[in-house]
């Protein structure tokens, strides 16, 4: 029987299942599940509600910023300033509340600061064609320095009249004993996932990462979108900063130091491609979760903490190696 043109146009080369199995995120999820399963049998302390509570909460800070980072990476950019932006936002929140303002004013100031920093990064990158690496590297240094100046490099642990509100916002568990940060993370992930998959904005982010010139020619507002993306990245850092401040109950100028690398690692393990054009919100969560489980398990298994970097580094390389192998097969 001859195959008509319409049949071959309608033919789907990949079923949903084969597409799933071919994705890096899927295998990271498998690795994550296997690791959790192994740890549940091997140790008495992994599958306890206390430990799971800790893991899920620790994941959130990296995961929330990894959501924003994934968006930046999808456009083919990078944001090295997130750790410092987290610090600056936390410090602005702490200082504002310490000065006697309400928690609402504090959060507004912190978010406003983050958005301002993001807009600065974005405008330099989009309109003045600075390389993202350079701009955000500069901001990495600049934002933390500003936090030190603002606080005179002291530790802030008194947050004025709304002190308790802030602590319960970050440290409490309003719903069914799930740590609050986890709820925020899930809500944000759902929003990011929705935007990436179902909106024009999301579709255009992928287009910019795939072929920026093509995006310009087809009428995608590339420059404003790039500014928006760095603002979103900074916003996630600001949100993570607010939650972390509430959880820790104190802010030092060290908070979030080196976090950018962990966040980028989470995004990359979760399937985001640093060359641009590929990434998912779910992947960001999974990547962050894998890193946290590795960290947690080393402690539980009694392996020296010095090995932590080796395992996380190995996970990054393995995850990307898998992707490379798959691409090799396609190219052959």
């Amino acid at each position: 029987m001859a195959i008509t043109l319409n049949q071959s146009i309608d033919h789907r080369q990949h079923s949903r299942l084969s597409a799933l199995v071919a994705s890096q995120t899927f295998w990271v999820v498998v690795a994550l599940c296997l690791a959790c399963l192994y740890l549940s049998f091997e140790t008495d302390s992994f599958a306890t509600s206390k430990n799971l509570y800790n893991i899920t909460r620790n994941v959130t800070f990296t995961a929330i910023i990894a959501l924003g980072m994934t968006m930046v990476i999808i456009t083919g950019g990078i944001d090295l300033s997130v750790g410092s932006v987290l610090c600056l936002s936390s410090m602005i929140l702490a200082i504002t509340m310490h000065a006697g303002h309400s928690i609402e004013v504090g959060i507004l100031a912190a978010i406003g600061t983050a958005l301002l920093v993001g807009a600065f990064n974005g405008i330099l990158i989009a309109y003045l064609n600075f390389p993202p690496f350079v701009v955000t590297l500069g901001m990495l240094s600049l934002a933390r320095s500003l936090a030190m100046v603002a606080s005179n490099n002291t530790v802030v642990f008194e947050f004025g009249p709304d002190h308790q509100k802030l602590l319960s916002l970050g440290g409490g568990a309003f719903f069914f004993g799930i740590a609050n940060p986890v709820i925020y993370m899930v809500v944000l992930a759902l929003i990011f996932g929705f935007v990436l998959r179902w909106t024009k904005f999301g579709r255009h982010l992928f287009a910019i990462g795939g072929n920026e010139h093509a995006a310009v020619l087809t009428g995608v507002p590339v420059r404003p979108m790039k500014v928006a993306v760095y603002m979103i990245s900074a916003l996630t850092a600001g949100i993570a900063g607010i939650i972390q401040t509430g959880w820790l109950g104190a802010v030092t100028t060290n908070i979030g130091a080196g976090m950018e690398l962990q966040v980028i690692a989470a995004a990359v393990i979760g399937g985001a491609n640093l060359a641009g054009g590929v990434g998912t919100a779910f992947g960001a969560l999974v990547g962050a979760a894998l890193i946290e489980v590795i960290r947690n398990s080393l402690g539980l298994l009694g392996i020296s903490a010095f090995w932590q970097g080796a395992f996380i580094g190995g996970a990054i390389i393995l995850a990307v190696l898998f992707d490379r192998l798959r691409n090799l097969r396609i190219n052959d």
Binding site: Q13, F206, T218
Partner: protein, 246 residues
Amino acid sequence: MTVLELSNVSKHFGAIQAVNDVSFALAAGEVVGLMGDNGAGKSTLVKMIAGNFRPSHGTIRMEGKVLNMHRPVDARGHGIEIVHQDLALCDNLTAAANVFLGRELKRGFGPFGILDYAAMYRRAGEIFAELKSETRPRDLVKKMSGGQRQAVAIARTRLSDAKIVLMDEPTAAISVRQIAEVLALIRRLRDQGISVVLISHRMPDVFTVADRVIVMRRGRKVADKKIAASSPEEVTGLITGAIEAA
């Protein structure tokens, strides 16, 4: 019926005269080959029609109305579609996503509308069928052949009610079999009453598919004649300057 009309169009960049006093008209359903050596001014001419540049002198009329464009996207609104030389495709997206790039179909209300994947796959499939190209809307462009990639870029021009399609070197970097596919696509556009301007270096392509050939040399139009009344030898002479004008 005249669709596009250029009258005495010139473009200079500083002291450089890229296009000098060029006039021509394009009828509905006509395929015109635009030929010339590198630097002859054909790209500049096309970029003016596409809205990338504004002419220094002269006017461009579309169905009698003077065109006033500021951005490349404006050309679309006037029924002018461009197939860029590099095709302007995103390898990481599906064929359907590329076809609808910048013009995504949505369902729901206004700004809250969500992407209508089903409608875009269906419509893209219809266009590929219409172009008789074996291209699957759900496939990633990364994995496609040169001919299929051309089909995706050409499919874009079928989304709106385009009157003119400008094609910049569509056969420059593809295999012989795929060239035949692309020429067939051009014929299909013509059959639907669309005028095509084919910018090409390849003599056989122009002589196979075009009704008329316009030759540019050093910013000037040196020939504008029916394909039937010309020959590849003559056109080669016109391009190089061995023949002054025809």
